[in-house]
Subunit: 371 residues, 2 copies
């Protein structure tokens, strides 16, 4: 398979990927909670089928465009986990007529606009900001919450379903206790909000979503639903956080070696910011890396090699800095395997995958735009 | 036009873009040098035609895939400005049979492989590392240079055409004198290499390529060819360097406002790292920004507003921090105009453009992959 690769290519190890999918499905079953995996990481109809085989029926996406793609591929229970963009009301109505659509709101204006313009019923979740401070309603904003809930109760199209949070701040941690603390704080705050309306609305649900919490915790209490996504592939960021081992990382770039510079032990690969995207990782020694090098074989790839890393990216070139010993191992025309820092962005940039048996798997970003 | 925009959209101001194209074409004519513009910034057949109208016949690209795209759109004199990836020899031969193909080499191994496997003649440039230290042959590597030139002279397929450099280190400068010094050093070093072979090869040419030098210098001496690319759109990085004014930036993102957080004067837009890519700019006050906000109108956009900037990106969300006064000016559902940090990467991520009169212009990254 490797000998047919001529350009930067994103390899997908189906076995590792299916193990990751199964691991989280089993954890959810064991904890008796619903798993609604986030599909923004893979954005692939083929990978989606591997989730279906593990019992997944409801999914999460991060744009209405992504919701449309998966609706076209047979998914009929879709949560769009970004505050509704009311400029897309036409697509919202189209999707709401076809699938069980779940929307997320964070303010009165959006709920008012939806109440006026929705033509079909949707499930509405309120996003609560439990500490990440990107977006969401603050848990103590009682006046705003009461106002929104009042609007929801009056609407025949908006069915108030629950409260959800995304603990993006766990991605900045490398300590399991810190991640557990964030998780427990979030569950506590979501309960506070839910309990305010529980007497009138006993069916309200609680949903959380980050990959670090869902990976690290074995026992998950107090939530009805989890929405992790990145675990389908994992990446160096998640390994750095402690969410996974290197062995669980299910995607790897294969980049042709195009130049070698012995005077500074640097190797240039075809593979730049248009392939990897530009997330980086700060190493313990203070260096910044854009990927770690592995040995490729027909069966997959090794653990990361020590003393060699992708240290710089321009648009199409990647610079790999290496020990003298590893420098000598590569020659111009070889393929170098490089684990990505952030698999979601690398997959989006690469627009598709090649499985280890040479099959092409699609990514939404490689699918031609339809009117 | 703006009212039809529902999702993150990359606007292209054709008038500004054509002015940029014309400015550089006139500068090249005035200096009596050939302009071979780099098309990696726009990667668009439609934008390419605007260059043709200004007399461009030869172009530069940064991958063989890009060369194939522009060959399919009628360009027949194409320089691929990245060390040849010999795993793509089949595509090299295909292109060499169709167009005047110029290739770049930086080592003996690649020249040997090309000499053996080329089926059609190509023009071969040696890339010299004049200080950027990404890739290229060091100007004092006489033994390596002599060896390569000897191989080239023996080949009937490889026509040694000249020496070229890319001064990527000018992108780290904000001082015009520093950029002029880099430029003059590069020309001096390229002359040293060329002059070593001038007696035997009197036709050898000299080519340089960075947008900062080509923008800042009015008089360009000692080179046969310039290959700038980013100037077609410019961006905040080039404005920061001093290559352009804000008014010359010809692309702008339009992003829907999806949330507002009055307690911290932050506005959330739909527009994240999958739209902008992730290059950032360090401001004089030490803050890091991912874009600057402008006022959109049907005719284009204003200069950047003070006291408001895009300060954080996640996959689909962008966080805009603003003064209280500007915070109040935006409401949920509005469109916000945001100038990109690095137009090449934003265009690649966005996969297409919308002109101010609502036309769609393609980008290679939005064109379905052909086998």
């Amino acid at each position: 398979m490797l000998e047919h690769i001529t350009v930067p290519t994103l390899l997908l190890d189906e076995t590792k990927c299916r193990q990751n999918i199964k691991m989280m499905a089993e954890k959810a079953r064991r904890n008796n909670i619903r798993l609604r995996p986030h599909f923004k990481t893979h954005q692939s109809t083929q990978v989606g089928e591997w989730f279906r085989e593990q019992g997944t029926t409801g999914i999460t996406v991060s744009s209405l465009t992504m919701a449309r793609y998966f609706a076209q591929h047979g998914w009929d229970d879709i949560l769009v986990a970004i505050p509704v963009n009311i400029r897309e009301i036409e697509l919202v109505n189209e999707l709401a007529s076809q699938v069980q659509l779940h929307l997320v709101a964070v303010n009165i204006e959006t709920v008012e606009a939806l109440a006026q313009q929705l033509q079909h019923p949707v499930k509405l979740w309120l996003k609560i900001d439990t500490g990440y401070r990107r977006t969401g309603i603050l848990p103590h904003s009682h006046e705003e919450l009461d106002h929104i809930v009042h609007l929801l109760e009056q609407s025949d199209k908006l069915h108030f379903t629950g409260v959800l949070a995304h603990d993006g701040h766990t991605y900045k941690q490398t300590d399991k206790e810190a991640i557990r603390t964030i998780h427990h704080t979030t569950v506590f705050l979501l309960h506070l909000v839910r309990d305010r309306y529980k007497a009138r609305l006993p069916e309200l649900q609680v949903s959380i979503g980050d990959t670090p919490s869902c990976s690290i915790l074995e026992t998950i209490n107090g939530v009805d639903e989890i929405r992790p996504g990145n675990y389908v592939f994992y990446d160096l960021t998640q390994q750095h956080i402690g969410s996974c081992s290197f062995e669980q990382i299910a995607v790897c770039m294969a980049c042709p070696v195009i130049a070698k510079h012995p005077e500074r032990n640097e190797i240039i690969v075809h593979g730049g910011s248009v392939h990897f995207s530009k997330d980086s990782l700060l190493e313990l020694d203070g260096s910044v890396i854009f990927g770690r090098v592995v040995e490729l074989s027909e069966n997959g790839w090794s653990a990361p090699l020590e003393g060699i890393a992708l240290v710089s990216l321009s648009q199409e070139h990647g610079t790999v800095r290496t020990s003298k010993e590893l420098f000598d191992r590569y020659k111009v025309g070889d393929l170098m395997g490089i684990l990505p820092i952030h698999s979601c962005l690398t997959a989006d940039a690469m627009r598709g995958y090649t499985s280890l048996d040479g099959k092409h798997l699609e990514h939404l970003s490689g699918v031609p735009v339809v009117g």
